[in-house]
Subunit: 225 residues, 2 copies
DNA sequence: ACCTGAACACCGTTCAAGT
DNA sequence: ACCTGAACACCGTTCAAGT
């Protein structure tokens, strides 16, 4: 009674689509982790042959890029700029964080990729709009965009990777690190061990995002003065 | 006259070592990119059989973790705390950036991993020492450590990944993004296109690091007052 | 036009056999 | 104790054949 042995009928001609394949890939990654994204698993999840997906994607890498676009789409779904540009940047940052938290295997594999797609472009435009609304212009807008966007994407991507490795290896580890063979050589690490284990990663991200927002605020104030 | 067909003699008993294997792996990644790290390539680079490495590492993943430790070792080589804690944090940040720039394929694959090793511990201790020197204590030290360390590692890891994909695909891409089919829908992106293409990623990193240092400074001042 | 099934080169890993 | 070579299961990809 395995899933792959149930239906052996030939698939109708137009059953498969890029969007359907991407959704199946995302479901596979969500439920079975990063190793699950293979043409064989994807095929049987779609009740299709191992090679059917090649009609719609020319390589595994192209599926990863499509997944990145799908994560952008999910993140931005329902987004509207806030009245205050600070709230727009907060909203966008936490949307990325939430997507990474809810789809860690997909985010870990895809979030660092440039898609050149429409949803990525929407995200870029949304951040630039907020920075523009803050009062920055020209080159300064681009720099602040990059400071914000690189930080948010990098940290969320790493957060996703951490969630995946926690699911795979079990627990955070680190324990060994803070019981080194020669504790006297690493006094600060030994002393901070308990606090480091108790760190709230979301709170760390919040502080990082607020730092960038504060910086944009300061630069905008200077520009107006 | 391929490299693998030259020497076919059996390797002496103690020729292979963990450090030698790690160095060969790093060389392979540096010279041939992320696809080059396979047991077969590693074996022939070491003039050994495909499976010889298994005597020293029990899986491919264990090699990746050892590479992460090696990158920590390379980064910290010769590090001494500066008089001013700000310069210590700057030094540590740019060491990570330089390592990511010089070994992009290895950094992209390994830099996000926790090693539980001695060089990672040295790095943690060095950052904590600087934050302590700034004047923070207890939980606040741990939080500021995390804000700094997560940012530096995440951004450098993403920088490495970007370098790898530039080498693979050629050029930054993005061009397509900033010539969208419907430019009117993304006015801010279209307007900022030229500036976005001209962004200096090192300057972005510099600003991110200075933001965190400024934040630690402000918190330390508040704590003392 | 789209899906299937056989086939190929490659990869991580295991294990019995050599020295 | 450490290295080799055959073997296995799996994976991405290609391609001729079906409908």
């Amino acid at each position: 009674m395995t899933a792959s042995s149930v239906s052996r009928r030939r698939l109708a001609r137009g059953t498969l689509s890029r969007q359907g394949i991407v959704e199946a890939a995302l479901g596979l990654l969500d439920e079975e982790g990063p190793e699950a994204l293979t043409f064989a698993r994807l095929g049987s999840a779609l009740d299709a042959s191992t090679t059917a997906v090649y009609r719609h994607f020319s390589s595994r890498d192209e599926i990863i890029v499509a997944l990145a676009e799908e994560l952008d789409r999910i993140s931005l779904d329902g987004y509207e700029p806030a009245e205050d540009w600070r709230d727009s940047l907060r909203d966008l940052a936490w949307r990325a964080w939430r997507t990474a938290s809810e789809h860690p295997a997909a985010a870990s594999a895809a979030m660092h990729r440039t898609t050149r797609g429409v949803h990525e472009l929407r995200a870029v435009d949304a951040v630039l709009e907020a920075v523009h609304q803050a009062g920055l212009r020209g080159e300064e807008t681009a720099m602040s965009y990059a400071v914000y966007a690189h930080l948010v994407l990098s940290v969320c991507c790493q957060h996703a990777t951490r969630l995946v490795s926690m699911a795979t290896e079990g627990e955070e580890g680190w324990v060994q690190v803070y019981h080194p063979t020669d504790p006297a050589a690493y006094p600060y690490a030994v002393q901070a061990a308990a606090h480091l284990l108790a760190i709230d990663h979301a709170e760390v991200f919040r502080r990082q995002v607020e730092l960038v927002i504060g910086d944009i605020e300061a630069r905008a104030g200077r520009a107006q003065a």
